[in-house]
């Protein structure tokens, strides 16, 4: 089945991510939470994957581990043949800086910086970034460049966060419930932006949601539940976000 996946993902058998037997246990002092109980997953160049599951299913944990934001308790994760699970803190930092763009549910903009500056924070340290203005234009916010996060709506803040994530031209874009805090109409605008970036820039995109409707825009839909992958489906026809409703 894995081979078939590879064929559909543009002919390349070279996976961007290769996760094997990944486990994660949170030690909360008085309780131990098993967030991941052995996950195998491959992501291929240029594809848009939706990780679907209820809250607490472990999908955020998986995404964080792929993005080098968190470390696995067991198993291996490789990024382009390099083992992330054995990387040092310094190597993980370098990995995040060069290859990964993040979009979070609560935007996580820096409140003391304007839209443009929130993007610059990333372009300042990237190797071959876009100009911050260009990134903002990409998400349709060129005219809001001098606004502070507190002066923007939730959808606008999330689009700034997306501009910030793509400005460095990352190889992968990891989005954790990017529409979770937004109403449907705003959410669709944000999803359109993500879809366009995936299409135009060819950025491998993984998107977490608990909303099954969003799954329609993916190349593949990975269902996660109770810390394991329950199924992987391929969408024969990708829907555009505009066709969705929830």
């Amino acid at each position: 089945m894995r081979n078939a996946d590879a064929d559909r993902a543009g002919g390349s058998t070279e996976a961007v991510f290769r996760a094997r037997g990944v486990t994660k246990v949170y030690d909360m002092g008085e309780v131990r939470v098993h967030a991941l109980r052995g996950v195998d997953l491959d992501l291929y160049p240029g594809e848009l994957v939706v990780l679907l599951g209820p809250s607490g299913s472990g999908k955020s944990t998986l995404l964080n581990i792929l993005g080098g934001l968190d470390t696995a308790t067991g198993g291996t994760v490789e990024y382009r043949g390099k083992e992330l699970t054995r990387a040092t803190d310094r190597e993980l930092t370098e990995y995040r800086r060069r290859h990964v763009g993040f979009v979070f549910q609560f935007y996580n903009l820096i409140p003391s910086l304007t839209s443009l500056e929130n993007v610059s924070v990333v372009t300042d340290i990237a190797a071959e970034p876009m100009r911050p203005e260009e990134a903002l234009a990409l998400v349709g916010l060129a005219d809001r460049r001098n606004h502070f996060p507190a002066q923007l709506s939730g959808g606008e803040q999330q689009r700034v966060a997306i501009a910030r994530a793509v400005a460095k031209r990352p190889s992968v874009l990891l989005c954790d419930e990017p529409t979770g805090a937004l109403d449907a109409a705003t959410g669709i605008v944000v999803l359109e932006v993500l879809e366009r970036i995936n299409r135009e820039l060819g950025t491998t995109t993984a998107l977490i949601t608990h909303n099954a409707d969003i799954a329609g825009m993916a190349d593949r839909v990975v269902r996660v539940g109770s810390g394991v992958i329950q199924s992987v489906e391929r969408n024969e026809r990708k829907k555009s976000p505009r066709e969705m409703r929830w």
Binding site: T61, N64, G67, D70, T93, Y95, R96, R98, E117, D124
Partner: protein, 788 residues
């Protein structure tokens, strides 16, 4: 990284109130340090310059009378460089319009040319003209106290002869920087003054033509001081030499040295405490500030900022705040330090002021402040950086609360729900609560320190003058007299009571240690007026045999009761005697040795000699007694007790009050800074929780109660802790400040406790009000919308 810099300044601006409060604490800490050290440095530097420029002598000796030719033999002593002979005479001075007796020391200056040493610095007027026998230059302190100007006239009784003198100049001498009369501890320029007079004129009035009774010398480089002293003593002993001594024993120099040493101790202790408190606060505040930004640390890490860059970002933020504080502290410190030095200049008589603020002092202050801040910041950053970005961006897990002991003790029903929240919150983070308490406690303690000095000095003066020295006046004879002189004094109209005393300059020796002081003889049955007290304030009777001494002196000589001390008397036939130490007395002022009057005279081989008397007289009769005493040729001077107290408070009180005021002001700002920062950080840490409570229907008053109640509990608990800290520090200061001049007792008035507590409480209330305003503006929706 340009954008990070933008974030830096924006964050700084966003927390400007808090940053200001932190900077204020640093300003106080650094200023205290700069004031103390620069004042001391300046005084030392000024003294050194004055000594050098005006050729302060290195050896001093008084004698009865020697022909001028002896000076040649003194010059021939190996190691002695230059020698100057002088005539010095005690006098009773008479300033028109001032009824009380004034003691004067009249010192000769060469009739032609500059003195070879101890030169005069003229402040006004001119030097004494050669050949004029009525001209004098007066010491500045004395002239100022009496508003005397060149051209004014004063009267003097020198050697029993009345003489009218004309002031032609006002001057300063390195010999009298600390101008204090014999036996006094504090300067009293109204009742003691130094005059300089032409050699010939003074010698003529004092029966010293072709002779001298005072000699100063300088030493050749590398010469042995002790050897020169021994040879001088051998040379001058036949002429009634009273023992040569070096600068260390010269009154003005010794007092200055002692004062500088004490200032030095203060300059060590106060800044260490202030800077310590500032550093401590900084460390805590900065740590918590950075913890508040842990999600931002997380996001920066997520985007690939290395830990070092993030650490650097926060270090810069903190260093900026600290540098503002340091710069302010150095500015304020230099300004107040200069003022303080000027104030000391009025107390010590220096002709000029070399204000000195060493670069190393400023650098040390900056370094200590920056280092403590950076350590605090780095600790917090490291804590945040150690987490994975995912973890750092998650809100902190709920704290582990417990039912507190108070509640378990069955008081649960007594505590309201908010009160229970306060109790649990304090108990949940005991270390944090303890640190907050410690910070506030230290602020409370330093508020007490200024006042405690005042309390102690008040207590010392009270004991000394109201319990020990109860005489109204002390009469000093020109030379030891027989007991008949006492009956003469007793029979003066208005004198109610008179007690004799004997005082003989002596060097006490035990083993290799020695100390130059005077042995005082009092009647054994104990006096009514002048009494020797122990530390429990009980009068001590003179022993039939042996010597009593101040416990501090015994400590310095390394002896105990029962040991035999060698007493080298420096008067009369200068006998050397071994005397048993009969007991020790714990006194606050001076370093004294006491004996029974008759036993002392027996040791000296003299009859019933007395050096003077303590007298009491009713207030309305005193003027008559003063007048009568002024006319008595055998009386060298009279010291009036009440004036001594007043002069003490005039001179010392002013200095002390200002110092106290400055310290209190700085301590107050530290207290406010500590309390306000604790409140602000608590607010930031708990705004989400408090907003949730508001959403659940709690009123503004109720959530304020929860937050500020905690602050209140910590503040109230910190105050007694502060009292304990203050006691510890005071005990330490008292121990370190022990000197020949005085030992400060541990005295703390209720008012000092009250004052410190009040300032801390006011600071807490003020901080509470400021925070309350922020609580009222808490944005409920915004807080609840993000995260969780």
């Amino acid at each position: 990284m340009k954008t990070l810099r933008t974030k830096l300044f924006r964050d700084l601006w966003g927390m400007k109130g808090q940053a200001l409060a932190i900077a204020m604490v640093i300003v106080s800490g650094v200023a205290t340090y700069v004031i103390s050290v620069s004042t001391l440095d300046s005084l030392r530097e000024t003294r050194a310059a004055f000594y050098r420029d005006y050729r302060f002598a290195e050896l001093f000796v008084s004698l009865k009378r020697a022909p001028e030719s002896v000076a040649e033999s003194a010059r021939a002593i190996p190691g002695v460089d230059r020698v100057e002979t002088r005539v010095a005479a005690w006098a009773n001075l008479d300033v028109p319009g001032f009824p009380e007796p004034i003691r004067g020391l009249v010192v000769s200056v060469p009739d032609a040319g500059e003195p070879a040493m101890n030169a005069l610095h003229l402040r006004a007027g001119r030097n004494v003209a050669p050949g004029r026998d009525d001209e004098v230059v007066a010491s500045e302190a004395f002239a100022q106290a009496h508003r005397l100007r060149p051209g004014d006239r004063i009267g003097a009784v020198i050697h029993g002869k009345r003489k009218a003198l004309r002031l032609v100049g006002i001057g300063l001498s390195p010999e009298h920087v600390y101008e204090v009369g014999p036996g006094a501890v504090f300067p009293d320029p109204k009742r003691y003054g130094v005059l300089w007079m032409g050699r010939k004129a003074l010698a003529a009035g004092y029966g010293m033509e072709g002779a001298f009774n005072d000699l100063c010398a300088t030493l050749a480089p590398g010469a042995s001081r002790q050897d020169a002293i021994d040879r001088l003593d051998a040379l001058l002993s036949p002429y009634g030499g009273l023992g040569a001594y070096a600068r260390d024993d010269q009154v003005s120099h010794r007092y200055l040295t002692e004062e500088f040493r004490q200032l030095g101790t203060l300059a060590e202790i106060f800044p260490v405490i202030f800077l310590g408190v500032a550093a401590f606060l900084l460390n805590v505040v900065v740590g918590r500030l950075v913890s508040l930004q842990r999600d931002q640390v997380g996001i920066l890490k997520a985007f690939g900022y290395p830990n070092a860059a993030i650490g650097m970002h926060y270090v810069k933020l903190i260093v900026l705040i600290v540098l503002v504080g340091v710069a302010g502290g150095i500015g304020v410190g230099a300004w107040l330090g200069r003022g303080m030095t000027r104030m000391y200049m009025a107390f010590y008589r220096f002709p000029y002021l070399h204000y000195e603020l060493r670069a190393s002092v400023a650098a040390t202050a900056a370094l200590v402040s920056v280092a403590s801040a950076v350590v605090g910041a780095l600790q917090a950053v490291r804590k945040a950086a150690r987490m994975t970005p995912a973890e750092a961006m998650r809100p902190e897990p709920p704290g582990r609360f417990r039912v507190t002991l108070v509640e378990r003790l069955g008081l649960r029903r007594i505590l309201s729900q908010p009160a229970r929240m306060i109790a649990r919150n304090v108990a949940r983070r005991p270390v944090k609560s303890a640190l907050s308490m410690l910070g506030i406690g230290f602020a409370c303690a330093i508020l007490m320190l200024g006042n405690v000095q005042e309390d102690a000095v008040g207590f010392m003066v009270d004991t000394q003058f109201r319990l020990a020295q109860r005489e109204d006046m002390t009469v000093v004879f020109v030379e030891p007299a027989s007991a008949r002189a006492l009956s003469e004094l007793r029979s003066l109209p208005g004198v109610r009571h008179g007690e004799p005393y004997r005082t003989v300059p002596a060097r006490l020796r035990f083993g290799h240690r020695s100390y130059r002081t005077a042995v005082q003889g009092f009647p054994r049955d104990g006096g009514v007026l002048h009494r020797v007290l122990d530390t429990r304030l009980q009068p001590v009777a003179m022993p039939r045999e042996g010597i009593l001494m101040t416990d501090y002196l015994a400590e310095r000589l390394g002896l105990r009761t029962g040991d035999r001390v060698t007493v080298e008397f420096l008067e009369g036939s200068r006998p050397i005697r071994d005397v048993p130490v009969a007991g020790l007395v714990g006194e606050y002022f001076g370093v004294n040795a006491y004996m029974d009057l008759y036993a002392l005279n027996r040791l000296l081989g003299e009859g019933n000699a007395i050096s003077g008397a303590f007298l009491s007289a009713d207030r309305e009769d005193r003027q008559g007694v003063y007048d009568a005493l002024k006319e008595m040729p055998g009386v060298a001077g009279t010291v009036v007790r009440e004036d001594a107290i007043r002069s003490f408070y005039d001179s010392m009180g002013g200095t002390l009050l200002l110092f106290t005021f400055v310290i209190t002001l700085l301590a107050g700002s530290v207290a406010f800074g500590v309390v306000y920062n604790s409140a602000r950080i608590a607010l930031s840490e708990r705004s989400r929780e408090l907003a949730s409570l508001r959403v659940l229907g709690f009123t503004r008053g109720e959530i304020s109660y929860i937050l500020l109640g905690e602050l209140g509990v910590l503040t109230l608990a910190a105050i007694p802790l502060g009292f304990l800290i203050a006691q510890g520090i005071t005990a330490y200061i008292a121990e370190r400040m022990k000197s020949d001049l005085y030992r400060v007792p541990m005295v703390m008035e209720w008012s000092s406790y009250g004052f410190a507590a009040a300032v801390v409480i006011v600071a807490a209330l003020l901080s509470g009000l400021l925070v309350r305003r922020r609580l009222d503006r808490l944005d409920l929706v915004a807080v609840l919308k993000t995260k969780e």
